[in-house]
Every structure is written in C-alpha cells, then in structure tokens.
C-alpha cells in the first residue's frame, strides 16, 4: 500500500509538469492552431536563466522572475520573427518552423550558457514530507500547486475575460475576429508571451527536482504534447487531466513493470485512447463545414 501511494505521489508530480507544458501548448494552439514544438525549450530556458541569474548573485525569486519574463520575451520574438512573417502558410509549415526554432534555441543556449547539468536549491528545503507511509518532496508540492494555479488562472482567463474570449474567437475564425474589432496580431503576441511564461514557470518549479541542461526541452515537449493530445488539444481541462494521467501511467509502469517500459506503456495507452476518441478525452468534435 505505501508502495502504491509512493508511485501515485511521484506520478502526480511528474504529471503536473506535463500538465504545465500541455497548458502552454493549449494557449498557442487556441490562438493559432499551431502546435508549438519549442514549448519544451521555454521550460528549459526557465530553468537555465534562473540558474545563471542565481549564480550571478541575484536572490532566487528575482532570478525566477527574470527567467519567466525573459522567456516570455523570447516567445514574443519567436512569434514576431518566425511565425508572423510566415502568416498565410499552412499550419503544418508553421509547426515545422517551431521545430526549427526549438533546435535554434537549444543551440544558442548551449553557446550562451553551457552543456552542464545545473540545479538551484528547492524553495522549501529538501526534507521529505511523510504522507500515508510514502514521502513527497516539498518541491513536488510547489510543482503541483503551480500546475493547479495556472490551470485555474487560464480557465478564468478563457471563460471570463474579454481578451480570453478574443483568443478563442481568433482561433475559431481569424477573419471574423478581425471584423468584430479584435486585434488578432495582439492576440498572437499575448498568446506566445503567456505560453512561454507558463513554460518558464514550469522550468523554475521543476529544476530543483529534475535538474536542467540545454537539452531537457525535447523530452518535455514530447510528453507535454502527448498529454495535450490525450486530454484534447486546445482544452485547458484536457491539458491538466491528460498531464496528470500521463504522469501516473509512467510512474505506475515504472513501479510495477519496469522503468524501461514507462515511456512505451504511456504511449500505448495514449494510442489506445486516441483510437477510441480521436479528439482526446475532453476534445470537442470538429464541425468544419465546407
């Protein structure tokens, strides 16, 4: 029993990270139909910039803030320099551009920083907390709380605020959105900033547990993408549930079968779900009419 509890706790922690990455995917996807494969790089940048700002002598909260803001800036730059000039290109081309951007960001990070693994101290110490015979790191609670807070914030943003609904309107029909006075260019800028900022936040939260180096983004982007697809791309609820489910699947497979199979098991389950529900668990059926 304590064993199961341990697997569940670590699954939820990993799942919360996937959920944060998936939420980042959700925003850009909602605004532009683009799946941004540089999302993992945002997470990596969040960790790396915090590490180096902290080493330079800044207090950790300030270093984290700088990391989040500068990553948001890089997100905006990605949109302005790479996505916007290709406006009108098919979505697939835009997605390939984001893959290119991901490779580029990784390369530049390697040059500007280094290729080493880094970490900074956990926010509330490293003393494990005992829960029902299992243990959880205080930092894991930070990660889980971060994912929940971002989810609630996004949910309110999309359902309650005018700008949030403008983002949804833009994704639904860009031309119609412009006709009712929505500045779709600004919507895109905001989406990339928000998405990159959330990715960076994930990086800040998780680095004390998993460490960070220039190349941690690829795996995270893949898992976050899988989580978003599992939950239903574009739906914040789907991103959260998909992320946590994926984390749990991995932890349980690693615990009861073998850690070598954890990725495979997770992807097999995702494939099975998508066979039965191609739109994901919470995805809307698409009703495009020609």
């Amino acid at each position: 029993m304590p064993e199961l509890m341990q697997f569940l706790l670590s699954g939820v922690t990993v799942g919360a990270v996937y959920a944060l990455v998936a939420l980042g995917f959700t925003i850009i996807y909602n605004a532009s139909d683009v799946v941004n494969f540089a999302q993992g790089e945002f997470v990596m940048l969040g960790g790396m910039v915090t590490v180096f700002a902290h080493h330079a002598g800044l207090p950790l909260p300030l270093a984290a803030l700088i990391a989040i803001l500068s990553t948001a800036g890089i997100g905006v730059a990605l949109n302005k320099l790479a996505i916007e000039p290709a406006r009108g290109a098919p979505v697939v081309s835009l997605i390939i551009i984001t893959i290119g951007a991901s490779i580029f960001i990784r390369g530049v990070t390697q040059l500007v920083f280094d290729k080493q693994l880094h970490r900074f101290p956990a926010f509330s110490g490293d003393e494990p907390i005992r829960v029902l015979g299992a243990t959880i790191l205080p930092q894991s609670l930070w990660v889980i709380a971060g994912a929940v807070a971002v989810f609630v914030g996004l949910w309110l943003f999309f359902t309650r605020t005018l700008i949030g609904r403008a983002v949804l309107a833009t994704s639904n029909n860009r031309l119609a959105a412009r006709l009712v006075g929505i500045n779709t260019g600004w919507v895109m800028t905001l989406s990339f900033a928000l998405s990159a900022g959330i990715g960076a936040l994930a990086g800040v939260l998780v680095t004390p547990i998993t460490l960070v180096s220039y190349d941690v983004g690829i795996a995270l982007a893949l898992k976050g993408f899988a989580a978003a697809m599992l939950g239903g791309m574009g739906n914040p609820k789907g991103a959260l549930v998909g992320g946590i489910l994926l984390g749990l699947l991995e932890a349980l497979t690693a615990g009861y079968v073998s850690s070598q199979y954890k990725d495979a098991a997770a992807f097999v389950v995702i494939l099975a779900v998508l066979f039965a529900m191609p739109q994901g668990l919470f995805g809307k059926k698409s009703t495009d009419r020609v």
């Binding site: 605020t161 005018l162 309107a169 031309l175 959105a177 412009r178 006709l179 009712v180 009703t287």
Partner: protein, 261 residues
C-alpha cells in the same frame, strides 16, 4: 449632409490582371447604395479593398472625411465600418448567441483584472452584451436558435446571423455582400425590411446583390461595374435604362441581334 463613405479612384491589379480600375462614388448617411455587375466584374474585390482585406493599388477610401485607405479590418471596425461576406465568416463552433455577442467585443472592453474578479462593472457589461445580442437575434428571427451551434444552421440563417453580428458593432457604414443569397422569397423580404430599417436609423449601407428585384426596390443609388470599371451610376430607373448597363448584362445577345439584323 456629410459624406460617410467616399471612394475615390480605387483600383487594384492581381499579376497583370486589372481587377478593379478607377472606381469612385459616395455613400451618405441613411443611404442604400448598391454595386451591381456581371459575375467577375470586381464587386467583391472592391468590397475587400474598402474593408481593408486587400490593400488598394490606387485611390483612397475615406470614412467620415478621414483617410482609411488600406488600414486593417479590426481598426476599421473601431472606426465604425462593419461588413458581411458572400461566403460567410462565422464562428462555426460557437453558439449563435456567442456569435452575436462577439459583435459587442469593442463596446465590452474592460480591464482583465475586473473580468477575472467578476467585478460588477464587468458583469454588467457582459450582461448588456448578451441582452443586446438577444434583441438582435430577435430582429433577424434567430432568437429560437440562440443556444444552437452556429455551424449547424442553414445557409440562409447564417446569412442573417452574420448581419446581426455586423449590426452589433453599431456601425456607421455597413457593407453587405450578397445578403439575400441562398434565402427564399420570404427571407429575402425580411432582409429587405431589416436593411431599410437600419438605413433609416442613419447608417450608410453599401450593398452587393444579385437579386435585381431587391436592388431596384431598396437602393437609392446604383453603381454598375463591368470588367473592373464603373460603367454607369444613378438612381435605379436611370441605371436600368442605360444602354451600357443593358449591354454589360445582355452583351452577347445584343451583339447577336445586331449581327443578325
């Protein structure tokens, strides 16, 4: 009376093709002006230039005396220009009501924080938008479909929904691209009344329409395009007697008659 919309020497070419060339006319408040012409005459292209979808190659568009040539559609919406599309631009996966509410986007602007906290002011704005949207849906006879997904409506109903959304912007100039296309006789008459009503409230209306009976019935002024050029303009009676217009519409027949005569 001030001119609401003034088109001066508007033109555009695609590659070597001159789609529209040197077209000028004006629309006054409360006036319904129709643009007619055979298929491919450049009517929709002209609309796209006026509404900022295309940047004109030549000429100017003035809205209430201000030069708005080539500025983007969302800024034109802010300045009081609203339009519908021949091939519909609807938020397909939103409900009918949400589509209409979207038209209130500009009037609803408030702070993100007030929205997030659900402050009374932002709740009031949202409620006002919903109420206004419901009334508009009533006006275009779609109130019963308010909660349906827009994508599931018939073509004629979507046409009316698009008009409702355009009206939600409370425009000073309204561009309607074939509002009656795909509508039956009864629906067409309803749209007729709606357009006349809107014009009566002082809105300048520019219309592209193939239903000649409708055009002749409601237009104050008609502009005739052929091969991208303005070949005639005037009131319905004058235009319908104009030999150039008759030739443009019945060209081959007239030539045939001549050849055989």
């Amino acid at each position: 009376m001030t001119v609401l919309l003034e088109i001066e020497g508007l033109g555009i070419s695609f590659g070597g093709l001159r789609a529209v060339n040197d077209v000028s006319f004006r629309v006054n408040p409360g006036e319904i002006v129709s643009v007619i012409g055979p298929n491919g005459a450049g009517k929709t292209t002209l609309f796209n230039m006026i509404s900022g979808i295309y940047k004109p190659g030549a000429g100017r568009v003035r809205l209430m005396g201000e030069d708005v040539t080539g500025i983007s559609p969302h800024l034109l919406a802010r300045r009081g220009m609203s339009r519908t599309f021949q091939n519909l631009q609807i938020f397909q996966s939103m409900t009918v009501l949400e589509n209409a509410v979207a038209g209130y986007h500009l009037q609803e602007s408030g702070s993100v924080l007030a929205d997030l906290l659900g402050l009374p002011a932002s709740r009031r704005r949202a409620a006002a938008a919903r109420e206004g949207a419901r009334q508009l849906l009533e006006r275009v006879d779609l109130a019963r479909a308010a909660e349906m997904e827009a994508g599931s409506l018939s073509y004629g109903a979507l046409k009316r929904l698009e008009i409702a959304r355009a009206l939600a912007l409370n425009p000073k100039v309204l561009l309607l691209d074939e509002p009656a296309a795909g509508c039956n006789a009864v629906e067409t008459e309803e749209i007729d009344h709606l357009i006349a009503e809107v014009a009566a409230s002082g809105v300048a209306i520019l219309l592209v329409e193939h239903d000649m009976k409708m055009v002749m019935r409601i237009s104050r002024h008609i502009v005739v395009l052929d091969h991208g050029e303005k070949i005639a303009e005037g009131d319905p009676a004058t235009v319908s007697r104009n030999p150039k217009v008759i030739e443009a519409y019945l060209g081959t027949q007239a030539e045939d008659a001549h050849a055989h005569g």
